[in-house]
């Protein structure tokens, strides 16, 4: 196993009119075949879970009246350190990267690979909250385990009525084990996946303890200010303009025909949304604090395929999100949210509304035009159609999206991992039946 990292580069697009047009053209070319296009063949990059280019169109901040310029965002998730991947990317596809980023202000000239790398590093920005469905599950593991399942399923299909019918679970499992043992290319499956490196786990454990300690300490220090915070919050919630009070802010008034052509080709879909933070320091500071806490919490407590399940609080989470990034951009004026999820957008939105509206409200509630929240967690996304209208308004096109395993849902990946983990493990009869039910 290998911990994943996220990498985001944001650079301003040259203001010259032709730059945007040329940039859209080159992205369209890459987007036609993200895995194997000649410019930037994402499929050739090792350890890449997904990669995407998104144009962040300029806009006027409704709060400050300031204009935000257009920029280009590149975002990806990789196995291992992001720095190492950036080196690998520049070596492997330097000319393709240049073909894209040449349309950004201050980009180095062609053929200057070292300078390009330095320039890209300078434009790297942090992700405030990064969610990974399953921490440490690397691309090769996901692909291999999917292959393992397919081979076992084929074996069972072939053997139906021979070695598997009318026999006991134990003997079916033995037959499967024998089959896998007999396959040279499945030798890796005889052993479980090696765990995360011990040094990393040690550091991570210390981070968890340290983070919790700091959290408790800061919480105690903040306690006296809670009443003031609640007053400010409530004032802000009541006074902010709410889309429900705007006659034009209705679902029927926003169509998504410009987004639909990029969706529903695979089991997985991409989602990119960009919006302004509500005006004022209070909202900005609160959001930044929440994003930091959320980053810590999802990293340490929601790392095994389920986002937001808290049995103690009777909260049921979502198990269809592969990755999510919350990134503060444009000098703190806008937030870019990028995710990969399973099935279709209606599904995704309904999951948000039905299951994790509270979590969404905590973060997105600080965005302009978000449906009114009550005490930060209630209301908000529960206003079903207004919430869907907000998403239609602020969802943006993902010009290029590559995914290394686009037809595998998160649940399927989880099931494949359990299948492999249990294949040669010691199982009691009940566990053996459960294991066979994975097939």
């Amino acid at each position: 196993m290998l911990p994943q990292s996220t990498l985001t580069i944001v650079a301003p697009i040259q203001p010259a009119e032709g730059a945007m047009v040329a940039l859209r053209d080159v992205l369209a070319e890459i987007g036609r075949d993200p895995a194997a296009n000649p410019l930037l063949p994402f499929g050739d990059l090792t350890g890449l879970h997904y990669g995407r280019f998104v144009i962040l169109d300029g806009a006027v901040d409704p709060g400050s009246g300031r204009t935000v310029a257009s920029s280009l965002a590149f975002n990806c998730c990789v196995d291992g350190p992001a720095d190492r991947f950036l080196d690998h990317l520049t070596q492997k596809a330097g000319s393709g990267l240049w073909a894209v980023f040449q349309h950004c202000s201050g980009a180095p000239g062609p053929g200057e690979q070292g300078e390009l790398l330095a320039w890209l590093r300078r434009h790297r920005i942090p992700t405030q909250t990064f969610y990974v469905n399953s921490l440490g599950r690397a691309v090769p593991q996901i692909l291999k385990e999917a292959q393992l399942r397919e081979r076992i399923e084929d074996f069972l299909d072939r053997e139906e009525g021979n070695t598997t019918a009318g026999t006991s679970p134990a003997s079916v499992r033995t037959a499967i084990q024998q089959f896998v043992r007999g396959q040279n290319d499945l030798g890796w499956a005889l052993r479980p996946e090696p765990p995360l490196p011990w040094a990393w786990r040690l550091r991570d454990g210390l981070h968890r303890i340290g983070g919790l300690a700091v959290g408790v300490l800061l919480g105690l220090l903040a306690l006296p200010f809670v009443p003031l915070f609640l007053v400010l919050l409530r004032c802000s919630e009541i006074n902010a303009p709410h889309p429900r009070q705007d006659p034009h802010f209705r679902l029927s008034q926003f169509d998504r025909r410009h987004l639909a052509p990029d969706e529903d080709f695979f089991i997985q879909n991409q989602f990119s949304v960009l919006g302004f933070i509500k005006p004022g320091l209070f909202r900005y500071a609160t959001l930044r604090a929440i994003l930091s806490v959320a980053d810590f919490v999802v990293h340490h407590f929601f790392r095994n395929g389920d986002l937001g399940t808290v049995p103690l609080l009777n909260l049921h989470g979502v198990d269809t999100i592969h990755f999510a990034n919350w990134i503060v951009v444009d000098q703190g004026q806008r937030v870019l949210f990028l995710s990969n999820y399973d099935f279709n957008l209606e599904d995704y939105m309904n999951d948000f509304i039905n299951k994790v509206a509270w979590g969404l409200n905590l973060i997105f509630g600080h965005g302009v035009n978000y449906p009114r929240t009550d005490w930060m967690v209630r209301g908000g996304a529960r206003d079903e159609q207004v919430y869907k209208a907000v998403l239609r308004k602020y969802q943006i096109r993902t010009q290029v999206w590559f995914c290394a395993y686009p037809d595998l849902s998160a649940i399927t990946i989880q099931k494949n991992a359990r299948l492999r983990a249990g294949l040669f493990a010691e199982l009691d009869p009940a566990a053996e039946r459960d294991w066979l039910a994975l097939l």
Binding site: R149, E153, L156, D157, E160, G161, T164, T167, S168, P169, S171, V172, P247, R250, L251, S252, Q253, F254, D255, R256, R257, A260, P261, E263, D264, F265, F266, I267, H316, D319, D342, F343, N344, E346, D347, N350, I353, N354, K355, R382, D383, E384, Q385, P406, D407, S409, I411, T412, K415, R433, L436, A437, L439
Partner: protein, 487 residues
């Protein structure tokens, strides 16, 4: 809140089971002035939910496509307040792809380019309006249609296509579909209109009728007109000074689904044979039942897992999770477990929370079969010998207040989702597309079992889309308003 039954078209409340003869007339507006005149006369004859249908008399219901509302002269501002799916229509290319009708995933025969009506082929006439006529018998049906056509007069509306129907009654007094299974057993009951039956919770009226609270305790957005466009105040007032065109109305999804009945039983016959090649009718019907989730009589597999039990024909008070979490009785991918998973899914299977989410994806089905049965006894052996001859299938009609969250969601996230509920590489065994858009086949069907699942592969397409459209089913007052338009 009491429902304004006198203002709601009758089809919302009932399927007119006592009116076995029915036809759906697809019409095109040729002259909006004459069409409105016809509508003004016809609206007084539209049957409403306020009274039981007269068993001797015909019942009429009227629905419009978005193009039809425009053809009738509804103003652009009002037209723009309809939901995107109605404005864009069922055949908008990206929507067609998502529904599995078009593109890599779809059987080319499903393509709207090949539809008999409502499709995208050049020269296909637009469908503006659908007049649904229900009558106690064939003779009365023809008389009713003739009368409605007389009212029509020349030049106002012209017939694009008449969709014939024929109810397939079985000996037990139920209704079957062409594969031979009892149909229309599980219907959501509407709170305030129906009584709770067979242990299934009633669904809030707003899921099926605009103007009432839906499952989120909210009002689904209604189409509306500027108050200046309704000087006669035919419509009730709505937010921001608009008048409510949607209240007491709803949306209809109509899809003509052709069924390949012989191919269905031929496939089952081939995969259920004994090792020596002999046909095994018992296994054949058991396999079909696994695909449907009910036996031909209607008995649900969760209650009768091993054999048909006609005494449970209309049983509907079951869940899936507690009695059958792994699908050992009723496979997870069975048609009824996909199209209405009840308590099977997240957030917490087997709980009220799961049922609450399920309630946001219900469809009120009002369709009817068409074409003669391949065998009047529905006996697979007879079907296998019969000559397919004419086209047959079902005019699938469902009522929902939110097409995207209800019909389209069921079609995309449940019926055609190849990784639904933890499954892999399979879609609905009856209705599903057999490939992912990426080309990966989804033509298997797995039957969970002990020690291990059985998997059937190579499922052909059994159901083909022949036509379809999204319709607005206005309230009586909205029909009067539409008839009164002057532009």
């Amino acid at each position: 809140m009491n429902l304004e039954l006198f203002d709601i078209q009758g089809i919302v409340g009932r399927g007119y089971g006592k009116h076995p003869a029915a036809a759906y007339l697809l019409l095109e507006v040729e002259s909006r002035v004459l069409a409105r005149r016809w509508l003004a006369e016809q609206v007084e004859r539209v049957h409403t939910c306020a009274r039981a249908p007269d068993p001797e008399a015909p019942c009429f219901n009227i629905a419009f496509t978005h193009a039809g509302l425009e053809a009738l002269g509804l103003d652009a501002e009002a037209l723009n307040t309809f939901p995107s799916e109605l404005k864009e229509g069922m055949t908008e290319p990206e929507r067609s792809r998502a529904l599995g009708d078009e593109g890599g995933a779809a059987d080319p025969e499903n393509s709207p380019r090949n539809w008999d009506w409502g499709g995208t082929a050049a020269g296909q006439r637009p469908v503006h309006l659908m007049l649904m006529v229900f009558a106690p018998g064939d003779a009365e049906l023809e008389t009713a249609i003739a009368e409605a056509s007389l009212l029509l007069g020349p030049g106002g509306l012209s017939l694009v296509r008449r969709l014939h129907t024929s109810l397939l009654a079985d000996q037990e007094g139920g209704v079957r579909e062409h594969f031979g299974f009892r149909d229309a057993i599980s219907q959501p009951g509407i709170a305030g209109l129906h009584r709770a039956t067979s242990g299934q919770p009633l669904v809030p009226a707003g899921e099926f009728i605009l103007g009432y609270k839906n499952a989120y305790d909210l009002h689904t957005e209604c189409p509306r007109v500027h108050h200046s466009r309704d000087p006669g105040r035919l419509l009730p007032p709505a937010e921001f000074g608009t008048h409510d065109l949607g209240r007491n109305g709803t949306y209809l999804v109509v899809r003509q689904l052709g069924q390949r009945v012989r191919a269905f039983w031929q496939f089952l016959d081939a995969v259920s044979r004994d090792p020596n090649g002999a046909a095994n009718p018992e296994r054949r019907v058991a396999l079909a039942a696994r695909m449907v989730g009910r036996w031909p009589s209607g008995a649900p597999l969760v209650e009768s897992p091993t054999a048909d039990d006609p005494t449970r024909a209309t049983a509907n008070s079951f869940g899936f999770h507690h009695s059958d979490p792994q699908g050992l009785r009723c496979p997870l991918g069975a048609h009824i477990r996909r199209s209405n998973p009840r308590d099977s899914l997240d957030p917490a299977p087997g709980t009220a929370a799961s049922l609450e989410v399920n309630a946001t994806h219900r469809l009120l089905r009002r369709g009817r079969t068409y074409g003669p049965p391949l065998s009047s006894s529905f006996d697979p052996d007879e079907i296998l010998q019969a000559d397919e001859g004419v086209e047959r299938g079902i005019h699938f009609i469902c009522i929902n207040a939110n097409i995207t969250r209800q019909f389209e969601f069921v079609q995309r996230s449940w019926i055609n989702n190849s990784q639904f509920n933890g499954l892999l590489d399979e879609t609905d065994p009856l209705l599903g597309t057999r490939r992912l858009p990426s080309g990966r086949p989804t033509d298997t069907f797995s039957i969970p079992g002990c020690p291990v699942r059985q998997r059937i592969s190579g499922l052909p397409t059994f159901v083909v889309v022949r036509g379809g459209a999204y319709f607005f089913l206005p309230s009586i007052s909205a029909l009067r308003y539409l008839a009164s338009l002057t532009s």
